[in-house]
């Protein structure tokens, strides 16, 4: 019974967020959008946490700014633009697709493509080489083989 309770508790546990009750907007729809945005914004002092996960001072300011912008009627895109204007692309947990990030986005597919092509080429070449039947032994070879087998 206790095991079952533990399992249930684990299953229904919510991820720990740093969003404090006092920050939550009264409008649930707006708050949901704020959460969605907060999940994709990177905290600028903790390397790889979203601002919703981070309890850093700056992350709190950023969460508040997101909610202020949304309340003022900004679209999600406007809010992201607002943050990028202040902190650069660094704040986006999902980096944008542009000239500077081409290698990031296309590097792995490119390697896959090149490696796949190389494999295909090798396989095709192997198939192209015909399997030749071995040459029959000549007199000298046959005598040596006989001697070995007898010995």
């Amino acid at each position: 019974m206790r095991g079952l309770l533990c399992l249930l508790a684990l299953l229904f546990a919510l991820p720990a967020l740093a969003v404090e009750p006092s920050e939550i907007l009264p409008d649930p729809a707006l708050e949901a959008r704020a959460r969605e945005i907060g999940r994709s914004l990177r905290c600028v002092v903790c390397q790889n946490q979203s601002i919703d996960d981070s309890s850093a001072e700056v992350a709190r300011d950023m969460r508040r700014a997101v909610r202020e912008r949304l309340t003022a009627g900004d679209s999600d895109g406007d809010v992201f633009a607002y943050m990028v204007a202040r902190y650069g692309d660094y704040v986006l947990l999902k980096p944008p697709f542009k000239a500077g990030t081409l290698i990031l986005w296309l590097g792995a597919p490119l390697v896959l493509l090149v490696a796949g092509a190389a494999l295909l080429l090798a396989a095709r070449r192997r198939r192209a080489t015909p399997i030749v039947a071995p040459k029959p032994l000549d007199e000298e070879e046959r005598r040596r083989l006989d001697a070995l087998l007898k010995g």
Binding site: V44, V45, Q47, A56, V58, A65, Y87, G88
Partner: protein
């Protein structure tokens, strides 16, 4: 063709070794988050004065035709304590114009801190809720901005400034030698 394939691992090794050597020697900091304000006009400034009876901080405070140093600090911040003597020196020996902004700091705490350590700031503002810090792309304190006479941000230091920053960049900047 086949022989070329045998060189491939060596080539990869050489490429990686080259990258690592460059990373170690070029001073590249992978933890650096960069700054987008550098090269742009200084962000908006509209803050109440920290010291009672002084005029508020506005954009005009930064567009004086002369280089200005803007320093975000707080009395609760230990690295600020470390860099503080450098600002005192800049003020006293070089006559630098330094604007201090107390970030998320109670007014009394910030003024008491300055009274104790000496006050190098020509102008000082109070950013109690951190909104101005956000506009400036601040990630914490201390951070320091070098702003030229035209109001363009030329350098942005995250973390305390050091003796080396002072000698290599800040002093030449004050003399107009750093663009």
């Amino acid at each position: 063709m086949r022989r070329l394939l045998f060189i491939l691992p060596l080539l990869t090794l050489a490429l990686m070794a080259g990258f690592f050597a460059w990373s170690l020697t070029s001073g590249r900091d992978p933890a650096s988050i960069g700054s987008v304000v550098v090269g742009r006009p200084a962000p908006k400034l509209d803050l109440p004065a920290l010291r009672p009876g002084e005029p508020p901080l506005t954009d005009e405070s930064l567009r004086t035709g002369k280089p200005v140093i803007v320093n975000f600090f707080a009395s609760w911040c230990t690295p600020c304590l470390a860099e503080h003597p450098l600002f005192t020196r800049l003020r006293e020996r070089e006559g630098a114009t330094i604007v201090g902004i107390a970030w998320k700091n109670k007014r009394d705490d910030a003024t008491a801190w300055l009274k104790k350590l000496g006050d190098p700031f020509k102008l000082a503002g109070l950013d109690l809720d951190g909104k101005t810090g956000l506009d400036w792309g601040l990630s914490g304190v201390p951070e320091t901005y070098l702003i030229d006479g035209a109001g363009i941000v030329r350098r942005h230091y995250r973390g305390p400034i050091t003796e080396r920053d002072l000698n290599e960049t800040i002093l030449p900047f004050l003399k107009g030698a750093v663009k």
